[in-house]
Symmetry: C2
Subunit: 342 residues, 2 copies
């Protein structure tokens, strides 16, 4: 058995992240991480007739790029695992339907990148696959239209709101090969503290992120200081502050090695994104474009990556329900500086 | 490596289905399988204020029952994997949020029971868990309201339409213990033959089911006659006929040992369900209530269970997209008649 605690497992060999690809929209391209993304589009329709079809195009283009960057072909991939925010996850379905790969569809809201990498790594470590393609996508316009207001209304956004990232992030996981390695997985439980404000997702998800961190530290006996970097998914500035406070109460000091992908991806002031970035693609593209290269070069030797998700729908919110949160954690070891192999 | 073909893996030890539980609504209770279900409700609201909350109650009550029937407690379960048809899978989220179990949310539309059992079995066989709880749910009223027309309109249903099953089916999978065993898993690819009629889901999903069967027979070198029972998920009469025809063209004879859960669950003529039952719960509750006891008693020694899903949303349909289908197959071995252990 590979379990090292109630919520954590240690992989027997470590699963290599063979490649990572990111494809984003224009706003992301203009942000602080702009230069790191593999593919950028000039318009959010990406040449399609609808935002939903545009999201699927982000998925398809980016998934194919991830496979190409791993020097593989579609037929070398044993499983594909991905998901998104659209109703019935059609962003993923229509994006990957021409890839001709056995498919497990996921719904983890914005925690999907963590969920897909967790399950993908376990499928490989369990002996079921050599290569697994995993990813997550979101689209600002499609998400606003579906979850909030029609964009042409120009509705004012409250300061606690976050900006859904447009794009797709994907990685190829492999049994063998050089690259950063997934070594442990801490799987989240649903945490619902009763937050019902759909314009404050950071606050809704923060307790789930804090619970995941606590569980991870208890399962492994480590502290935040054992990591070079800890990154949650899309809590933004408000959510990050809450996590720091909640963990402080548990006796864990989250210092400046802890960031949130939603803080990294936009320049909140210049880009008018309020509390930060969000959406499934937020942690997915930030991991692929920003953290993966640092793991590859050895700048980061040990990272805790924790995509976070808010598991609500317009129906549940309209019926007065709160917003349950979830978070999925992965420990990823980078290559050692100067090492010939990794 | 446990792979025995492009889409099929063989588990190293076989994963036991320790218990199976089913909870259904009034129409299902009145159908031909009525006497087999564990829990039946008299009204489709199940004492809740909305159909969506009712669906979550089906999930919670039934998941707890599955754990109880396995003589386990919630804290003995390492992971829970489930999903449903509601936007952002809130049927599952609100149903399991109080169970306090690490959670992987799935979206496989009506193939979800197959997807959850596949991933759950691989997590156990891969050494990551001792017990996994998997399931799927749907609710006729919530699904009609979301996907088609408000129920009070009394819209006439075309003869090709199917009736979404109200209920939840769940199993506890285990590394050890007596009971029927999952021994092989064939994972489906998305198949899209261009069917766009949301009132003919059987036709939309049949090509995916046929492709899965063909892939399974090719990977294993078997024929339909190697099984005592083959059951697809929710194709109904029209979809079943198409599958028989498509497989016939490939040289495989699907005789009367092949049925579809959507045909078994309702008496189409008496219950006015047209082409049959559908929804995530269709294959889930039919497996748990009808097939599982036959596997347990040895009446069925070898079964191929293939939940089927239509991966569309109202948005994709309104934008003129076709309905991509998927199917997930599991080979389950029953207990031998008269054997003391299984």
């Amino acid at each position: 058995m590979k379990r090292i605690g109630k919520q954590t497992v240690r992989l027997s060999e470590g699963v290599t992240i063979l490649s990572a690809a990111s494809t984003v929209g224009p706003k992301e391209a203009e942000g602080p991480l702009g230069k790191y993304f593999d593919q950028k589009t000039e318009d959010s329709f990406f040449g399609e007739k609808s935002w939903e079809l545009a999201e699927s195009k982000f998925v398809e283009k980016n998934m194919r790029l991830a496979v190409q960057k791993a020097n593989l072909k579609s037929e070398d991939i044993d499983y594909i695992l991905c998901g998104d925010l659209l109703n019935q996850c059609t962003g993923s379905t229509f994006g990957i339907k021409n890839l001709d790969i056995p498919f497990f569809g996921l719904f983890g809201a914005c925690s999907t990148m963590g969920e897909s990498m967790s399950l993908g790594a376990m499928l490989i470590d369990g002996g079921f696959a050599n290569h697994v393609l995993t990813g997550a996508s979101s689209h600002f316009c499609a998400a606003e239209k579906q979850f909030r207001f029609p964009l042409p209304l120009g509705t004012q956004r409250p300061p606690t709101s976050t900006w859904t990232v447009t794009g797709d992030g994907a990685v190829v996981l492999a049994r063998k090969g050089d690259g950063p390695k997934i070594v442990e997985i801490t799987t989240g439980k649903i945490v619902d503290m009763g937050v019902a404000d759909v314009n404050n997702m950071g606050a809704a998800m923060a307790p789930a992120a804090a619970a995941l961190l606590k569980a991870h530290f208890e399962d492994t006996g480590r502290t935040p200081q054992d990591y070079d970097a800890i990154a949650t998914g899309d809590l933004g500035t408000i959510g990050r502050e809450l996590v720091v406070e909640l963990l402080g109460k548990e006796g864990y000091l989250l210092d400046n090695r802890y960031t949130d992908c939603g803080i990294e991806i936009f320049d909140a002031e210049k880009q008018d994104t309020h509390a930060g970035g969000s959406g499934c693609a937020c942690s997915a593209v930030t991991f692929c474009a920003y953290f993966y290269p640092k793991l590859l070069s050895g700048k980061i030797e040990k990272m805790l990556f924790i995509p976070t998700g808010a598991l609500m729908s317009t129906t549940s919110s309209q019926q007065g329900q709160s917003i349950p949160g979830i978070a999925h954690g992965l420990v990823i070891e980078g290559c050692r500086k100067g090492a010939e192999e990794c």
